[in-house]
Every structure is written in C-alpha cells, then in structure tokens.
C-alpha cells in the first residue's frame, strides 16, 4: 500500500483557479476524504491524482514516485499510475458481463487465464457479487453496479483507491449500508483511499481524516471529530449542520495543557467560558459556535452562559424537536428531546454545555 503526497498542487483554467495550492499527505492505509460543496475543486483534485487531469502547478507523489511535476513538465498518464478508481456513474461497461468488467484490468495486463478467473472470483466475492458473474452489466441495479465498480477497482491490487462520490447515486438507506460495508472492506485490505463527497455525514462516518475544501483551497484538515468540534473558521463550522454562531468579545485567554486555549467571553446579555485553538487579546470580537444539540432548556437555574428568549417555531423531527428561539444575542437553534414541547410564544431560558462552546476569529 502506498502513500499520497500533493505538494502545492494547482489547476488553472485560464485565469480561473479550480484548485489553488493544495498541500495534502495521506499515509499508507489511510482513508482521506475530500469534502466540499460542488465546484470547490475536490473532484478536480482527485482527477489530478488519477492523471485524468493535469495539474498546472505543484507536484504529486505516489509512494515516493513523482507521477506529476508541473515545474519539470513530467506527467505520467493514468494507465501507468496503477490506481483503482470508482466513478460517480460507476462506468460499468454495458457491452460486457460482470465478469468481463472485473477481468478487464487483468486482461490489459495480460495475466494468465487461470489467474484472471481466480482473482475475478475473489474480487467479486469480496463485494458479495460472485453469483452475478455471468450477468450482462445493464441487468444490474445501481447498488450492484457500484459493487462491481469496486471489485473492478480492487482486482489488480492498485496502490491507491480513488472514489468520486460513489454513493451519491444510491438511495438513502442503501447509501449508509454500502458506506459502512465499504469502510470495513477498506480497513480489512488496508488500502490507501482518497474519497470525494459533498455529504458531511458520509465524510465523518467513513474517514480517518477529512479535508474540507472551498473555492479550490483547503480550509481545514483533521479527524472527523476535530473538524466537527473545533473548526478553524466559520466556513468549516457552517459546513456541518446549522450551528449557532454567536458574536462575543474576548475578555481573557489562558493556554490549556493540550495546546488549546480557554477564553472568557462576554456577549449581549450573557458571558461564559469557551475553548479556542488560539489565544485572543482582550477586546477581540469572536464568534462562539454552539451546536443545537449542545444546548438545552434550563430547569430553573440561570448560570452566566444562558439566554432568555421567546420560542418562535417548533418542529417535530422524530428523533428530536428543533426550536427557534429569539434572544437578545440573536436567533438561536436548539435541538431538544422530542417529548418536551414548549409552546410557540412561550418564554424559556437556554443554557449551553461550556465544553462544547468553541470560539473562532470572525
């Protein structure tokens, strides 16, 4: 298994930079996800690693082998890179059977017949499609095609597996199941994987590390929990769910043992303590991120970090109830137990878990 290294990689179309100076390292066996809205450059980045598009700047190294170096004009075509890829449309060739589709990479490499049939069977077994080998490809469902596409990408033991939104064409239930199965398979084989998606839940559930991209640049790289709880900036914070970002002023900063900082903040009618990745000089205006699930209705006590307000909307979502509350600090979204149902128009007090409060520069 191999590592991937992108060094200052860019892709320019005329004046437009689809990908702008991306630095990324994926260790051997790691599952790295490129996450971002459509047009953020994540697919272009993946395609540059694949060799389907040529980077106009920077270097791409796979397993200590430079596959593309814009400065030297070196470019290795995709077929020489020994990478497996699963496409969004699966790209299962309709004029072949399932077996022929999976056998294709081995036939290209002129493997002996016995070996081909053995390895194709093994690959199909891996994705639980071994009983479909003789089927013509158009007779498969979307989920089955996806499995065949994975088998085809794995059969020749590629150095890295690239996946371009492979789950986006499946329905919601199948998406979760297939995703979990794929992650288990990836862990078992220990294959380095680069995965592209716009779905944040998918990214968090599958990845070792998530790379959040926007406008061709990397906003943040980190483990799913880190990205979710400790975003670098508002862009990353807003990408996951709909967090409350409350304006506040920093009063004091203290470094903590784990490299983070504890910040005393004060806002409109509230004050409290939150954490941050950096210290702020007193008087700095910051955004405090509080996720709806980390807030609750006070049962009477009103600590410093609390907001009084009026319920303006209440939506039953099954697992929980979402409230919109008008407060002096602005409208706040809160997720509470579905069994509690404060009436619209009633006045409540909201409190937050200080450990979940995260301050960022605005």
């Amino acid at each position: 298994m191999a590592s991937i290294s992108l060094q200052n990689v860019s892709r320019h179309f005329g004046d437009f930079a689809a990908v702008d100076g991306v630095d990324l390292e994926a260790a051997s066996g790691e599952f790295v996800t490129l996450l971002g809205a459509s047009g953020c450059g994540k697919t272009t980045t993946l395609r540059m690693v694949a060799g389907l598009e040529q980077n106009t700047g920077g270097r791409i190294v796979i397993d200590d082998e430079v596959v593309s170096d814009a400065a030297r004009g070196a470019f290795m075509p995709p077929e020489k890179r020994r990478l497996g890829m699963v496409f969004q449309s699966y790209a299962i060739w309709p004029h072949m059977t399932v077996f022929d589709n999976v056998a294709y990479p081995l036939r290209i490499r002129r493997r002996p017949k016995d070996e081909i049939s053995q390895r194709v069977k093994l690959a199909l077994k891996l994705v639980e499609m071994d009983s479909f080998a003789a089927r013509p490809a158009p007779a498969l469902s979307g989920g089955q095609q996806q499995r065949v596409a994975i088998a085809r990408a794995l059969v020749f033991e590629p150095r890295v597996l690239l996946l371009d939104e492979p789950l986006s064409n499946l329905d919601a239930r199948l998406r979760t199941q297939t995703g979990d199965e794929f992650r288990a398979l990836q862990k078992r084989l220990g294959i380095t994987s680069l995965y592209v998606t716009h779905d944040q839940t998918e990214a968090m559930a599958l990845s070792d590390r998530v790379v959040v991209m926007s406008k061709g640049r990397i906003l943040q790289i980190g483990a799913p929990e880190e990205i979710y709880r400790r975003p670098n900036n508002r862009g990353v914070a807003e990408f996951f769910g709909s967090p409350n970002l409350i304006a506040a002023t920093a009063r004091a900063s203290r470094p903590l043992a784990d490299g983070l900082f504890s910040i005393d903040v004060e806002g409109d009618g509230w004050s409290g303590q939150c954490q941050a990745s950096e210290g702020f000089s007193p008087g700095t205006v910051v955004s405090v991120m509080l996720r709806p699930e980390n807030m609750r209705i006070s049962d009477g006590d009103a600590p410093a970090m609390s907001w009084k307000g009026e319920v303006t909307a209440s939506v039953f979502r099954g697992a929980q109830r979402s409230l919109s509350v008008k407060t002096a600090a602005g409208p706040l979204n809160v997720d509470i137990s579905a069994f509690a149902h404060p009436a619209v128009g009633s006045n409540i007090t909201l409190v937050a878990d200080e450990a979940a409060a995260w301050a960022m520069a605005t």
């Binding site: 694949a50 060799g51 389907l52 075509p77 995709p78 077929e79 020489k80 020994r82 990478l83 497996g84 890829m85 496409f87 969004q88 449309s89 699966y90 790209a91 060739w93 309709p94 004029h95 294709y104 990479p105 290209i108 490499r109 158009p138 596409a149 085809r152 990408a153 020749f156 690239l162």
Partner: protein, 584 residues
C-alpha cells in the same frame, strides 16, 4: 379563500353540460383519427397496391390488357441479377469508406482539440444539404475525361497528355455517393460520440489501458450498435440512390436498380411499365427484408451510455497534430463543396465549359436563364412546392407524432406504422406507384400530370422524417408540462397551443427546413410525375443537361446554392438560439 372556492363551485355546477361536450369532442376525435388514417393510406398503401397491380398487368392503366407474370419473369433473368449485384456492390463500396471517414471526422470534431471545431462541423455537414444533382453536374464538368477542369489542370501542371480522372466509371459513382453519405453518417455518429459518458473511457484508462486500446476496446465497442444502424441505413440509401448512377454510371454502361427502372420507362421504344413496376415491388420487398434484419440485429443491443448529465466529453490534446486534423476537415469541405461550387461559378461565365479562355467570357447564360419562361416557371413551381410541401409535411408529421407518442388514442399504432412506411420506399418506386395511383383515379379528380401529383409525392416522401423530428421534439418535453397546464385550468387545445406548440416550434422550424431541402433536391419521383407546366428545378436541370446546356445548369445551380446556404444558416441560427436553450 372563499373568493377562490366560489368560482370552483360554480364550475362544478356546469359539469353535466361539459360532459356532453366531452363526448361530442371524443367522437370528433374518432373522425379526426380516421381522416388521418385515410390520408396516410392514400399516400402509402394506395400507391403500393397500385404498384403491385401494375406489376401483374401487361398494359398501363386504361388500356386493355391481361394479368400475367411477365414482369417478374424478367426479374429472374441473369441480366437482372447482374444489376442487383451491381447495386449492392456500389452501395457497399460507398458505405464502407463513408463510414470510416465519418467516424474519423466525428472523432475529430467531438473528441479532439482541433481548432474551430464548431465551425468545421457546419462546413463538414454542408454537402448533405446541397441537391445531389448540382454536385453531380459539377463533378461531371470537373472530372470529364476530355475537358474536365481537374484533368486540364493536371495536364498543365505535369505537361503529360493524360487524363487521370474519369468520373464516368464505377469509382465516379461511388465517389459521388461518398460525398453525401459521409456528412449524413457524420451527423449520426457525432452525437453518439458526444453523448457518451466520459467515465466509461476514463475508467478504462484507470484500469491500465492505453488511449488506443481504450478507443478500440471501449469507445468503438460501445458505439457498435449505433454504427451498425448507421451502416445499414447508409446501405439502404445507397441502393435507392438515383442521381449518382444516372450521371456517372449510365455513360459507362453501369446500371443499377433505379436507373434500370428509369430506363425501362424513358429510354425504351415502348415504355415497359410492367417490368418497371415489378422491379419497384421487388425493391420494396428487399427494403422490407433489410429493415426487418436491421431491427432484429439491433434488438436489445442499444446500450444506454447516456446518463442524462450534461458533460463535456474528454477532449484529446493533439499538440501540433491538431493542425493536421484541422487541415483534413478543411480539405473535405474544399473537395465536397468549394470545388464543385467553383466549377459551377466558373462554368456559368464561359461560353462553353472546358474552354477557359479570356475571349470566351460571357454573361449570355445568365441572360438566357433569366429570360427563359420555362426556368422561371420551374423556379416558382419549386418554391411553391417547397414552401407548401414543407409546411404540410411538417404539419402532418407534427400531428402524427403527437398522436403516436403523446396520446393513448385508439388507432395510433396504425397511424405510426403508415407514416413510417414510405421510409422503405425509394423515390423512384414511390414515383411509379403514384403514377399508377393517379392514373387510376376517377376522371373528376385530375391529379395526374399536375403539380398536385408532385405535392402528394413529396408529402409521402417527407412524412417519415417529419414524424421522426417531431417525435424527438415531443419526447424531450415531459408529460408534467402538459398535465400541469391542464391542472391549472387550460383546455386540451389551449394546452396544445400554449405549451406544446410554444415549446416544440423550434424543432418544427428545423424539420421544415430539412423537408424543404428534401423537396428541392428530389429528382427520382419528380422525373416520373412531372409534365409540361409542372416541371420543378431539378427536372429542368436534368433536361438542360441532357441538351448539353451545362453552362445554364451552372447558373441555376449557383442560385440554388445561395438558397441552400441561406436556409441552412437560418436553420443553424434557430438550432443554436432555441433548441439548445429549450433542451429539445
């Protein structure tokens, strides 16, 4: 709220009255469907039946005769077999190089970074819209073994007294056909190239296959059903071709089915109608067999490679080779359009074509053409038939397509099948069928020998294409659009005019121009159905040519070329402006 409810309740009160209207309308619909079936039958089944009758009857209509099988007996002769083999040979001989060329050109336009591809595409497809009779005559002047311009240039350039080019040959017939088949096939294939999901090819590259291997193993294989389809279609059209063998085959004693039919009527001491109709019927059976074979061959083999996403297929960077591919496209355009048009241009200004000296320059041919009442009449006939014929054909096609794809009315399958039937009838065969059909009509319906005969023939010949264009247009419009209009209170006819017509008219216009071109270029049926007073341009051109007036032919040819370019320009503008934005 109550204000909205009130009129709805009022509407409910009217319901019994509207139910009566509904049943009246439904019966009106039945009559309409029946009328269309009758009209289509008159255009297809009737001439087809008359063809069969003619092939069994020893004399033309109205003359005493007997029923016998002499016509078919003649068909079984060794000579007739030779003609059949000739036809098949020529058609295969032109289809194979045309298909190869078309795939190559389509690949250049759809899949490489050759400069100015959009403009090249327009130029490459232009020959398809030029009436074949024009280029046939132009090439007869260019490649005449004695005085052809190309041969003269060769002699002048090399000093050798030898003519390398002789268009009056097997090669000449094939060459002229290739000029038409290539753009025709190109139009088919370029869209197949474009519609293909690029991931199908990219995944092959990721599996380790080179560009070349991917092209051969994936791209071409995925296109195989479409290519087979195009091949058979082009082969059928080759068998139906009349102009090329007439102009280049006949002088070299090369006879094919269409020219044999034509000769047996026009060039025999007594026209052998029975033989001609027997050939016509035989050809119909042959075409039918071919179409069935095509259908069976392709059943279940059309791969859906389109995922409905708008993507730009990966374009191959050719480096400096892109100028070679650019040059190749330009060369194709030069040979198929510029060369023949220049010949017409030059030919129109010299006293005799082939003698290109300064003192031979003249405008007398222009004077002769513009002062000839016969030519003016032919121009007005052609324009009248073109404008009226195209409008009627498209209207019929629009109605037929609507009934067959947008409704569940009874009789829609019959209508669809009838409208498709002329697809298998070569113009020559349909011409003879109509000749009989009109002659057999009772006296009070004087269609025979009038301009109406031509109009009906054009209507029949154009209907399959018109229907196909409109079917395609409707297929792109979701049913929701119509249903939404009905739900929001529009009646059936309001929906038709405000939604369907409003959305489908660009396709109608594009099909109209296509049909107009079809009428302008039509020769094989016209030459059988015209009579004095109802000549069209293509027939007049042929007569002038037969009388050795190639120079006047050039003048008319140039005028027709201007018309072709003008209409093609308008068509492209409509396509670009409306059809793409509507996604039709």
């Amino acid at each position: 709220m109550s204000e909205i409810v009130a009129p709805l309740q009022a509407g409910r009160a009217e319901r019994p009255a509207s139910a009566g209207l509904w049943s009246r309308w439904a019966s009106g619909r039945g009559i309409g469907v029946l009328a269309i079936i009758l009209l289509l039958s008159f255009l297809t089944i009737y001439p087809f039946a008359m063809l069969f009758y003619g092939s069994l009857h020893s004399t033309p209509p109205g003359m005493a005769g007997e029923y016998n099988l002499n016509g078919y007996r003649q068909l079984l002769s060794k000579e007739a077999l030779g003609i059949l083999l000739n036809t098949v040979g020529i058609s295969l001989g032109k289809t194979i190089p045309s298909l190869t060329l078309a795939v190559f050109l389509a690949w250049i336009i759809a899949r490489t970074d050759t400069p100015c591809r959009d403009k090249l595409e327009v130029l490459i497809t232009l020959p398809f819209f030029i009436p074949p009779i024009l280029t046939a005559m132009a090439w007869a002047m260019l490649g005449n073994p004695q005085v052809g311009l190309l041969n003269q240039l060769f002699k002048w350039a090399t000093g050798v007294n030898y003519s390398p080019i002789n268009v009056y040959s097997w090669g000449g017939v094939v060459w002229h056909m290739v000029q038409y088949s290539t753009p025709f096939l190109f139009l088919f294939i370029v869209d197949v190239f474009r519609a293909m999901d690029p991931a199908l090819e990219e995944s092959s590259r990721m599996c380790g296959a080179s560009r070349l291997r991917t092209f051969g193993g994936i791209t071409l294989m995925l296109m195989l059903p479409a290519l087979t389809n195009a091949f058979i279609l082009s082969f059928i059209r080759g068998m139906e071709n009349f102009e090329s063998p007439l102009f280049f085959g006949a002088p070299a004693k090369i006879t094919v089915i269409t020219t044999e039919m034509y000769n047996s009527i026009n060039h025999h001491a007594t026209p052998d109608y029975q033989y001609a109709t027997a050939i016509g019927f035989g050809v119909m059976i042959l075409m039918f067999a071919l179409v069935i074979a095509q259908w069976r061959l392709l059943r279940g083999r059309s791969f859906t490679t389109v995922t409905g996403k708008g993507y730009s297929p990966s374009v191959m960077k050719l480096g400096k080779w892109r100028w070679a591919t650019f040059g190749f496209c330009v060369l194709f355009f030069f040979i198929t359009v510029v060369l023949p048009v220049s010949q017409l241009f030059i030919g129109s200004f010299f006293r005799f074509f082939g003698f290109y000296q300064w003192d031979m320059l003249t405008l007398e041919h222009y004077r002769a053409v513009f002062s000839s009442s016969e030519i003016w009449r032919a121009i007005s006939n052609t324009m009248l038939l073109g404008l009226g014929g195209a409008t009627l054909t498209m209207a019929l096609g629009a109605v037929v397509a609507y009934i067959s794809v947008r409704t569940k009315w009874r009789g829609r399958r019959v209508i669809d099948a009838l409208a498709w039937l002329p697809w298998m009838m070569p113009g020559m065969v349909l011409g003879i069928g109509f000749l009989w059909a009109f002659a057999m009509l009772p006296g009070p319906i004087p269609i025979y020998g009038t301009i109406w005969a031509l109009l009906l023939a054009y209507l029949a010949l154009g209907t399959p294409v018109a229907t196909r264009v409109m079917t395609g247009a409707y297929a792109q419009l979701s049913f929701d659009l119509e249903e939404c209009s009905r739900v929001h209170g529009a009646s059936f006819f309001q929906t038709l005019s405000r939604i369907l017509v409003a959305l489908a008219w660009p396709s109608f216009a594009v099909g109209w121009v296509l049909t107009f071109f079809g009428i302008m270029r039509e020769l094989s049926a016209s030459v059988l159905l015209y009579s004095v007073g109802s000549e069209v341009l293509s027939v007049v051109l042929m007569k002038l040519w037969a009388n050795g007036l190639a120079e006047q032919v050039s003048v008319i040819g140039l005028m027709m070329m201007l018309l072709v370019i003008l209409f093609r320009y308008v068509q492209i503008k409509i396509l670009q402006r409306y059809v793409t934005t509507l996604g039709v």
